[in-house]
């Protein structure tokens, strides 16, 4: 009997004009009936393309089948057998370019909403207090250090703990989670979810030391002397890039890292209840068009800016942000100035009063495969703003690496790790995530954390 056609289910969400006044999460998540209905759209392919599209090979058809049957907790456990952070991934993974991109249903119709279902099962398990500690292998009494508590470090720590290692995560900041807590805003990824994932690790016996900047407080060599037998470096891409244009050090020019860290990690939007201050902006230009730029622009609106621009030198097709975020930003009234490049920040009394831009057109593809933007002569114009947020990318975090000459870097300053094992040139030290790949995605960082955990286990058991 042919299946009755079901439309892709929409997740209910806050209306744009309400949500720009608060930091609450924008989508509400699927109600149970809707989740079960959406799950029925999956064809349960024998050779599921979606799984190939997922960097950690989540058992997608299996977990979706369990959702369709109303077995939500079982579904969550299924996902978690390969993905330790489903509540995070369900919210921030670029599904449209991974699993959902290759979903068979998507060939004729809209693909199955895999991401929304993943989020649903993870939330269900957490909200019903059904989270259970998995079986842990017998304790090995071997100490492993994990440096950095972003998705790469958390995943590696979790996998090693499962295998019975005595794992300690060292985090430079006062909170764990990496970009998940200091970068991605509350309205996209509530911090309680990240905290719950970290709690899960501590319940598994993973120790966490915050305020521990490895390379300064103690070097890797010193950690080895303290009895650690192996280390994973997941220090991320935390070095903000600037435009190197005149006026960039005026008051009111911030890196996206600063802007987002003030708001997310330090809760500056609650100043003066919280002590960290925030710039007060009326008109904001955000330079760049990735997730970081969308997050900054939407944050600016929520902080009360009247007008927010995205300034981006290429065309809509090249914007690297997730589709959903671009869509949300458009709905919220962000003004997209595309094919536009800033060439100078204009100032008055040391503060920003505007930016001077030039119009661009696209030429032949460059080495990145994207068409190269070329300035159009005599097309300069000014945009009046009081704040400029620079969101054009992040380089590798250099602090640990400067203190660890044993670890070889590539020409971009990222760690030169063996792609198969993620071993670095320092014995017993493995690395993964943005510090190896350059700024990438949560799921890719997690995938690397997994590979490294496997290699570390092999290294330590001599297998």
């Amino acid at each position: 009997m042919p299946k009755e056609k079901i439309e892709r289910q929409k997740m209910p969400e806050q209306k744009p004009h309400d949500r720009i006044k608060n930091f609450n999460e924008v989508p509400f998540g699927f109600p149970q009936e809707i989740a079960m209905k959406e799950a029925q759209r999956c064809l349960q392919c024998k050779k599921p393309a979606c799984v190939k599209g997922c960097p950690v090979e989540v058992a997608i058809p299996e977990f979706i089948k369990l959702v369709a049957e109303g077995k939500f907790v079982e579904a969550a456990r299924k996902v978690k057998s390969t993905n330790a952070l489903p509540a995070v991934c369900g919210r921030v993974c670029p599904q449209e370019s991974q699993c959902e991109k290759v979903c068979i249903v998507g060939k004729k119709d809209k693909p199955v909403a895999i991401g929304s279902l993943e989020r649903f099962v993870a939330d269900f398990e957490r909200n019903t207090n059904a989270v259970k500690i998995p079986n842990i292998a017998e304790k090995k009494n071997i100490k492993v250090a994990v440096v950095g508590s972003g998705p790469a470090g958390l995943t590696c720590a979790g996998d090693l703990a499962l295998k019975g290692y005595d794992v300690t995560i060292f985090e430079a900041l006062h909170k764990t989670g990496g970009v998940l807590v200091y970068g991605i805003p509350e309205f996209r990824l509530p911090k309680v979810i990240v905290q719950a994932e970290v709690n899960y690790l501590t319940m598994m016996g993973v120790k966490v030391e915050t305020n521990m900047l490895v390379g300064k407080v103690a070097t890797l060599t010193e950690l080895f002397k303290e009895g650690y037998k192996a280390a994973f470096v997941g220090t991320g891409a935390g070095l903000p890039m600037f435009l190197n244009i005149p006026g960039e050090n005026l008051i009111g020019v911030l890196s996206a890292n600063e802007y987002l860290t003030r708001v997310n990690l330090m809760k500056a939007y609650l100043f003066p209840e919280y002590d960290t201050p925030m710039v007060k902006s009326k008109k904001v230009a955000v330079v760049g068009a990735g997730n970081v730029a969308m997050d900054s622009a939407r944050t600016a609106l929520r902080l009360g800016a009247e007008k927010v621009y995205i300034v981006y030198r290429r065309s809509p097709e090249e914007m690297p942000a997730r589709k959903e975020e671009i869509h949300h930003a458009q709905e919220e009234g962000i003004d997209f100035q595309l094919l536009t490049n800033p060439i100078e920040v204009l100032g008055k009394d040391g503060c920003v009063r505007g930016i001077k831009c030039i119009k661009m057109e696209l030429g032949a593809p460059d080495e990145s495969g994207r068409r190269r933007p070329i300035p159009i002569k005599d097309s300069e114009f000014e945009i009046e703003v009081d704040t400029v947020v620079v969101a054009i990318g992040n380089g590798p975090n250099p602090l640990l690496l400067k203190a660890t000459p044993e670890i070889e870097l590539n020409k971009w300053g990222n760690i030169n790790a063996n792609p198969e094992t993620l071993a670095t040139t320092m014995k017993g030290v493995y690395a993964g995530g943005d510090i190896v790949t350059g700024a990438a995605t949560v799921i890719e960082a997690m995938g690397q954390g997994k590979i490294a955990a496997r290699s570390i286990d092999k290294y330590l058991t001599g297998g």
Binding site: A172, L173, H174, Y182, T210, N211, M212, L213, K216, V217, A218, G238, L239, P240, F242, E248, N249, I251, G252, L254, S255, N257, E258, T261, R262, M266, K267, F271, P272, E273, Y274, D275, T276, P277, M278, V279, K280, G350, N397, P398, L399
Partner: protein, 289 residues
Amino acid sequence: MFKILAKEVLSDCVYKMVIDAPRIARARKAGQFVVLRIDENGERVPLTICDADAVAGSLTIVFQAVGKSTMQLGQMEPGQSIHDLVGPLGKATHIEKYGTVVCVGGGIGIAPVYPIAQAMRLAGNKVISLIGARTKNLLILEKEMAKVSDELLVATDDGSYSIKGFTSDLLKQVMARGIKVDLAVAIGPVPMMKAMANLTKTYNLKTMVSLNPIMLDATGMCGVCRVTVGGKTQFACVDGPEFDGHLVDFDELQKRLRTYNVQEKTAVEKFQHSPSCIDLAMAAQKQVK
């Protein structure tokens, strides 16, 4: 949590605290700082490690109550704990035997110059220290400085103690003696460091200054601490905080320091503290403008 072991009021609104932090106490070197967060709602405050006892596992900070956070910290008592403390941060001072080193500290800047004078002396240098404050009540660490210096000269702006004048006047006196000085280290308010750097340029005397821009993470991640040195952007928290004073764009630093003036004023006004420190804080904000 990091326990406060001892506290001393050094002068009007300047406090000295000894904090239990064994790991940092062992690792720190002269010129480095810590970042602390008083409580869950606190901001990340950078403060120089003024002294440390590796055996006891404690470190000493000296700070001036100029805004909400430092006022709040000043009200804390031994036995209470600071929520977060990370360090040692920043590059350590390059210490070697230069010959004669002049260490200049202005106001609260005497606190960060102290460990450097101490380390320079230990390395076999002749240390001449020049310290100054606006008025007698604000002068700190005189005895400590005397102990680590071969010679100590003191000035107050208003002449209420020792020589009337600025630390730059003291330096002129020293240079007038015709002795060969190999390095100067000058730490204090931005206008003082700027004046000092301008003066030492005329003597062709290499001068290190320690910059105090606004900081957030202090791990090189946010870029708020950027300063222009020799025409290049540097992040003071990881590339500094010490730089060649003759290359620093002090005017830019001074401007950037007032980024959050309005908000800081709100925070202070909401906070209960002794009136004298509030007056001092407001005066500091005016000075920065």
